[in-house]
């Protein structure tokens, strides 16, 4: 067998691989402090995270279909059934978050250390494009699990682009592939996420890395206050109109900086093994953090996307939260400013940064304006994110009891409306489940659901045959909720008029301070009314109604349930006042 040495000699004779090794691994890195050396690992961590995303993404694609009919089930299958699927998916989703964080840190430290300055302007610009590509990865990947969160984030996100003057409509339709977020949007986003963006990222990353290796990693910044001072230009003579002092021309500064860099690089250690070892430790640390997050917070499966839903409160992923929050502060007419112009301007500034101040002062303390700007931008984004994450919902969706929700869903999937109406909507073959009083008890209703041929009429067949016991229980809960939650005691109406009658009218009696509740049973369920009476402010923050449950109020939970059932049975709305 050949030894390693022989093998490398064999290749070197044919391909001069030694030169490649020297250029890549034996290159010297300028000496710096341990802290700065750890900061230098951010780029390598990003490269690692990208590889992690690529590998886990390929695995996910094996179990994924980009169609609204299957996407949610595919994602759920990956998370729940596929062997270690939850781990792969978790790594991919937390890896994406990690990429956004690390790329932000990488840009910030590069900006603060002035490393984007001559001769590395083009490295910075490719970096800005890489940042954009990573954000687009996040945006397109978010839709793929096709759950409520991803669907509505895409509706809002594409609408933001729609605020662009003149061409906004076309941009929206380009992204959506139609007028609404639907099957075409999903395939488009999938194509972008797994084909176009990776290709773009690989090209830009290759150029970025080529330039990093070719030019050498920048040296840690030194104080050079004299570069910034105005006054006599040592090289060009007296600069008219500027005070006294010593200032080098930009060209002279560059020559000096290049000289300085050359010496520092000579004095530094080689990339392999000194720096690569640190990179490896940082990568290990990054992977551990991502894995820990996967174990602690597994990726949620959510509910399947429902375009017709009004019960969902859209919230974007945290790294878009600052933009989401910022949009609250702009009135509608200024929407284009907030949604398109400010981010567009920020992007333009990022791209133009290397050309603002061409003097070679790099140390953050020599550039107070740039440093202050970076920190205030960072503080702004953090503040908006925190405010956005904490802001209470003005109109929070109040979920019904889970079994009732499930029953409601089953009611629709089983086409119960083929025979039954709810509040007058639906067929009239069977009784209206909301308006007609049902003559039967729970046992009969369950039997009707599970064995319709025995109890409804001999030989009757409905889609419901084959219901699981859980499912018929859920359906019963839903029907029971429609019916007003069950019977109320004879004390209920007295309790109502004594406690609520000062403000509310039912059947023509009571005070007018609050809304008339004569038809409340048609719009609110018994459990909603119950929860509202216990803590009105939790459900509707602007209400003037006090809480009625003990100890704040006088009523017990049992009495509240009694009144709630009484109210849920009030289904004769007062005639409108004209």
């Amino acid at each position: 067998m050949w030894s390693r040495l022989q093998l490398s000699k064999w290749f070197d004779e044919r391909l001069s691989t030694r030169a490649i090794r020297v250029a890549l691994f034996d290159r010297h890195i300028p000496k710096s402090s341990p802290l700065v050396e750890w900061i230098y690992t951010l780029g390598s961590v990003l490269l690692f995270l990208f590889i992690l995303q690529a590998v886990t993404g390929m695995m996910l694609a094996m179990n994924y279909v980009a169609s609204p009919d299957h996407a949610f089930d595919a994602a759920r299958y990956i998370s729940m059934r596929a062997p270690l699927g939850w781990l792969i998916r978790g790594l991919h989703s937390w890896g994406a978050t990690a990429m956004v964080v690390v790329i932000g840190a990488h840009m910030l430290t590069t900006f603060l250390s002035g490393s984007y300055k001559y001769p590395r302007e083009s490295t910075w610009i490719t970096g800005v494009f890489l940042f954009l590509i990573v954000m687009l990865f996040g945006f397109t990947g978010y839709l793929l699990p096709w759950n409520q969160k991803s669907y509505w984030a895409t509706v809002v996100g594409t609408n933001i682009a729609g605020a662009t003057p003149y061409i906004g409509d076309y941009i929206v339709r380009f992204f959506r592939g139609g007028s609404e977020v639907g099957p075409q949007t999903l395939t488009r986003f999938y194509a972008m996420h797994v084909l176009m963006l990776p290709a773009a990222l690989i090209v830009f990353a290759a150029v970025h890395l080529f330039m990093v290796v070719r030019q050498g990693i920048s040296a840690p910044p030194k104080r050079h206050p004299e570069y910034g001072r105005h006054g006599i230009n040592a090289e060009l003579g007296i600069d008219p109109g500027i005070g006294v002092g010593t200032q080098l021309s930009v060209d002279a500064q560059r020559t000096r900086a290049a000289d300085e860099y050359h010496h520092e690089k000579e004095a530094g250690e080689s990339f392999y093994p000194f720096y690569l070892a640190k990179d490896a430790v940082a990568v290990l640390l990054a992977l551990s953090v991502v894995a820990l997050l996967v174990f602690m917070y597994p990726t949620e499966i959510g509910e399947i996307a429902d375009p017709a839903s009004t019960s969902y409160n859209p919230r974007p992923d945290w790294y878009f939260l600052f933009l989401f929050q910022a949009l609250k502060y702009f009135p509608g007419s200024m929407e284009a400013v907030a949604a398109v112009m400010v981010p567009g301007l920020a992007l333009a500034v990022l791209l133009a940064v290397p050309f603002f101040d061409r003097r070679m002062r790099q140390h953050p303390l020599d550039r107070p304006i740039a440093t202050g700007f970076a920190f205030s931008a960072l503080a702004g984004v953090i503040a908006l994110t925190v405010v956005g994450a904490q802001s209470p919902l003005l109109n929070p969706y109040v979920p019904e009891r889970p079994t009732v929700e499930e029953g409601h869903r089953l009611f629709h999937t089983l086409n119960c409306a083929y025979c039954h109406s709810v509040n007058g909507r639906g067929s009239k073959i069977g009784p209206d489940l909301m308006l007609d009083t049902l003559k039967h008890d729970k046992t009969w209703i369950i039997a009707h659901l599970e064995r319709p041929g025995e109890v409804v009429r001999p030989g009757a067949r409905t889609a419901m045959t084959g219901l699981l016991p859980d499912e018929s229980a859920d359906l019963f809960d839903y029907i029971n909720e429609l019916q007003g939650g069950g019977p109320y005691s004879e004390k209920a109406s007295r309790l109502f008029y004594r406690n609520c009658g000062k403000c509310h009218v039912v059947a023509g009696h009571g005070g007018a301070k609050g809304p008339d509740l004569s038809g409340i049973g048609l719009v609110r369920s018994v459990s909603f009314i119950h929860r509202y009476m216990e803590d009105p402010k939790a459900l509707y923050s602007l209400t003037k109604m006090p809480a009625f449950v003990q100890p704040e109020g006088k009523l017990t939970h049992v009495e509240i349930e009694d009144i709630a059932r009484f109210l849920a049975h009030q289904r004769t709305p007062a005639p409108p006042k004209n």
């Binding site: 809002v156 099957p183 509608g332 004209n578």
Partner: protein, 152 residues
């Protein structure tokens, strides 16, 4: 020779880019939305001044997919007019809800609030709620579920 190289490469890239561009862009130029009338139920069953969220099925072709999807609208019958609102906030398209206690539509995203007739009460929405064209035929309400801007 170099002119030949650039000429040939120019023709090749234009030859690829042109069909790709038209493949991508043509779908954007056609009319958006649907023009089919959808029945939404009987008019006299709609309560006065109480918005109803009505959901009906519609068959729609988008790309190669023909889908039965739900069409939702908030229908408000006032004594002199019917309003059929597209169920998305005019700010960024979140689904808004009717809050009976406040008699207003609330959007949970950026706290947009609309009145019973869809006017902006507060918050960032740039215009009143979008409406669907409607017609009443033989006592039944028909709508075209394509949002259009309200003329005020």
């Amino acid at each position: 020779m170099s002119r030949l190289f650039w000429g040939a490469m120019g023709i090749v890239s234009a030859g690829i880019a042109a069909p790709i561009a038209s493949y991508l862009i043509t779908p954007l130029l056609g009319p958006g939305g649907t023009k089919d009338w959808v029945r939404m139920g009987k008019v006299d069953e709609l309560p006065l001044n109480a918005p109803q969220r009505i959901e009906v099925a519609r068959r729609m072709a988008e790309g190669w997919v023909t889908e039965d999807s739900a069409v939702t609208a908030w229908v408000v019958r006032t004594p002199d007019k019917i309003y059929v609102f597209d169920p998305h906030c005019t700010h960024l398209g979140c689904a808004y809800r009717w809050v009976e206690e406040a008699k207003q539509f609330f959007c949970p995203c950026h706290a947009g609030i609309f009145s019973l007739t869809g006017k902006v009460v507060s918050g960032p929405p740039p215009r009143p709620l979008d409406i669907y064209a409607y017609e009443v035929r033989e006592g039944a309400l028909y709508v075209v579920p394509t949002p259009t801007k309200q003329v005020v």
